[in-house]
């Protein structure tokens, strides 16, 4: 997966995809056998296998047992693979009104939540968690409520440290501060490394909550070009660091919201080295890493940090227990600053939730749950890509992330995403329109769609309705 475009199998897969999109290969056509292709291209059969497997993962071909690979009936939309091109200057952030109005709309229960930021809570082991909490809360040491105030529940921190260890990273329980979700971890990190008036690098497009956080703290945003598959462009970042001397970067290296991009490991290593040369801290928002579709959990940039410059923020809200509001930060050299900010703002996270999660992580089968969740999300992504192909204008491009639960769509230029959002809401369908992901309200014809819900007729119909709306707006 690393340096994917340069891999042989990836080049082969892209070539075949092009033939399918051009109509050279039609739905139902059988691909040449692995042996034939290996011979004709002069590559190893395993390269061909990998290419076919990749095409299958993208929904372009289907395998039939003992008979080979066939072009799928519906061709998914073309992949969006161009980096964004922001102008690179820093800008005062003023997204509040725009974002809040849209968020509020997406919270209505009667709305099909394609614009939601959360996966369906039905995908989480809430009953199991509830039993764990019922048991642990009744054994809670009364002193626990006024203890551990400094950095959060010690058992929970140990369980989190064990997960870092399993990924080959060395983060001790003492290096962690437990927070009310990742959002608080990110805010505390920002407060620890910036002062009002500073500039902070974000991706383009970036998660709107990052923009809101900058706005609240009187910080300026530098939006830097970002590639939908591989994350922020290091050349553009180096230029921004050089010219604008930002106080920090706030980035998502794993399954970035909204693009879904996964920064390759070598690039993460380069990123950390670049930041170290400028002594610039990285606030790493890593809440989606556990939702990887490939077998291995991708490492965060934090894994390559030798100078304590990365404040690594994550939580259980996107993969286990949204309402418990438990997140954490490994703040590197800002550990004491973050712990103190925490102590004097919200003091501590909710003790019963901390204790229940510590027990669940120890005994609850978290990895089993995650394996199931990843499969569900991967298959829901396929369903959504197929629905886009069926219902959306032909020129629509979509990302094809290897994890998480968001697709980022580029619609044909005439289709105004804010208009689409308003019309969709009138039909009780929410979408996240592109402009909320930029301090300059760019991405006017882009959408973020959430595939984190079990796919059913309601979602299929909502996608069809969105497709019709897009066609109507385009024709107008």
């Amino acid at each position: 997966m690393l340096n994917r475009p340069s891999k042989r199998y990836e080049a082969l897969a892209e070539e075949i995809e092009a033939s399918i999109r051009a109509g050279t290969l039609q739905p139902g056509d059988r691909l040449p056998s692995v042996r034939q292709t290996a011979a004709s291209r002069g590559v190893h059969p395993s390269t061909v296998f990998q290419a076919y497997y990749r095409l299958e993962a993208r929904g372009l071909v289907r395998a039939h047992a003992r008979s080979g690979y066939y072009v799928a009936a519906a061709t998914p939309p073309a992949e969006l693979d161009r980096a964004s091109e922001p102008d690179g200057d820093s800008i005062e952030v003023d997204v509040g009104e725009r974002v809040f109005a849209i968020l509020k709309a997406t919270m209505r229960r009667d709305v099909v939540p394609l614009g939601s930021a959360f996966p369906s809570p039905l995908l989480f082991p809430l009953a199991r968690l509830a039993r764990t909490m019922a048991a642990t809360v009744q054994k809670l040491d009364p002193r626990a409520s006024v203890d551990h105030l400094q950095q959060g529940n010690a058992d929970l921190r140990r369980q989190i440290a064990l997960r870092y260890l399993a990924d080959g990273m060395h983060v001790d329980a003492d290096d962690l501060v437990v927070t009310n979700g990742a959002m608080e971890a990110l805010h505390l990190s920002l407060a620890a490394v910036t002062r009002p008036g500073d500039a902070v690098v974000v991706e383009s497009p970036t998660f709107y909550a990052a923009l809101q956080a900058l706005e609240q703290r009187g910080l300026r945003a530098i939006e830097v070009a970002t590639h939908p598959r591989e994350g922020i462009e290091l050349g553009a970042l180096a230029e921004a660091l050089e010219r604008q001397r930002p106080a920090a970067c706030w980035l998502m290296t794993n399954f970035q919201n909204p693009l879904g991009g996964l920064m390759p490991e070598a690039k993460k290593r380069e990123l950390v080295a670049l930041l170290a040369r400028h002594d610039t801290p990285l606030i790493e928002d890593d809440v989606y890493a556990e939702l990887h579709f490939d077998p291995r959990r991708p490492l965060p940039a934090k894994a390559y940090d030798e100078h304590g410059l990365v404040l690594h923020c994550s939580s259980f809200s996107k993969c286990l227990a949204p309402g418990y509001r438990i997140g954490w930060v490994a703040p590197g050299r800002w550990r004491q600053a973050v712990a103190r900010l925490k102590l004097s703002t919200t003091l501590t996270a909710s003790t019963p939730a901390e204790t229940a999660l510590a027990a669940y992580l120890e005994h609850g089968g978290y990895d089993r749950h995650l394996r199931k969740l990843r499969q569900q999300l991967a298959s829901q992504q396929q369903a959504m890509l197929a629905a886009i192909a069926r219902h959306f204008p032909a020129a629509t491009r979509a990302t094809r992330p290897d994890g998480g639960y968001f697709l980022w769509l580029e619609l044909p230029p005439g289709i105004d995403a804010m208009d689409l959002h308003r019309r969709a809401l009138a039909l009780s369908i929410s979408v996240a329109p592109g402009p909320i992901f930029s301090s300059r309200a760019e991405f006017s014809h882009h959408l973020r769609l959430n595939y984190g819900h079990p796919w059913d007729a309601r979602f299929e119909e909502a996608m069809a309705a969105l497709g019709r709306l897009a066609a109507t707006i385009r024709a107008a």
Copy 2:
């Protein structure tokens, strides 16, 4: 209790107290009978009863059945009743290091927690709460975790609104935002009504967390003269409003931390009118109101607010469930601003904790628990006052609050509170030294002591040890 010094019974009680302190009345002496005193003073017997009752409540006399009132064996310390005299200018706040070092020390489990900010968790119905949570978490609607994001759990807000109603106040469930404890409510309120560089009025002395909050947001503090029994001096406040145009006031009108003062109702009404004339918002920290020793819950200043100028902040952390981290704010005209700040920083409080507290408030016997808790705290206050009288230098003065769980002590001037704090900690006893309650490190010979723990030999011995340390320091 209102306008206390002007009441007849209070005047009589103060006169008798003076006789006891002067030695005219000695330990063991019998007071004149109620009938005799009523006749000799020309007052109604009920006035004398009230005066004797008041003296008894202060630990100065003891009633013996069918035989009358006797001067108590140990005379409690003189009451501290002079207002503070800060210089009134605004000042940049820089208390961080000082406060954090002390807080950290007080969190050690092996320490006698006289410096703690919390009452003993053993005074709370944690087992009952845990059973409630065990039951509610297992019935939790999965959607609850991504619902109610805007202002917090609707059932909980309704229960809180019902408590306002029972106190005769009109605060709807829709007027409330649930937070991670009162501390977050206060921070969000501060963020909603100030900008960096603004000045904010606080009491003198004030709760150190208020100073930390100002420091974090780059705000200046104006410390205003405050009376230990009746709260901030309105004359001094009027002058500060006039001359310095603060962006807000952050005050505690009920059982102020650290003084324990209770602002009389009429004064609260005047306070709100004064602020309305200057259109200055009041952030009202009201976390101790439920811990009143007199029968009626004192109303907050919010009760007199007709212009939505008061942001009323409270929580369950000091009277029911510290570790659950559930507080709230009734932000008046800043409701939307506070809700949005909340949504973009910590999103929501912990759902299982919200739901459990909603159910407990509805069915759990909260008022029964509170009645018991108030009695315990009142009797622990008596025990601590008696211990001060027994062990501390004779010139020590102490507040005598009608609620809460803090005493504020003025030691003889030569005794440095920071020195006492360090020496006490070496003996595993924590105290909260006066200088952390002021941005100018004033109150050099003052202490805040916590009587919120069941009184036992450990506390008695700790008080004796503190008394010996004070004597040593004074002699040096």
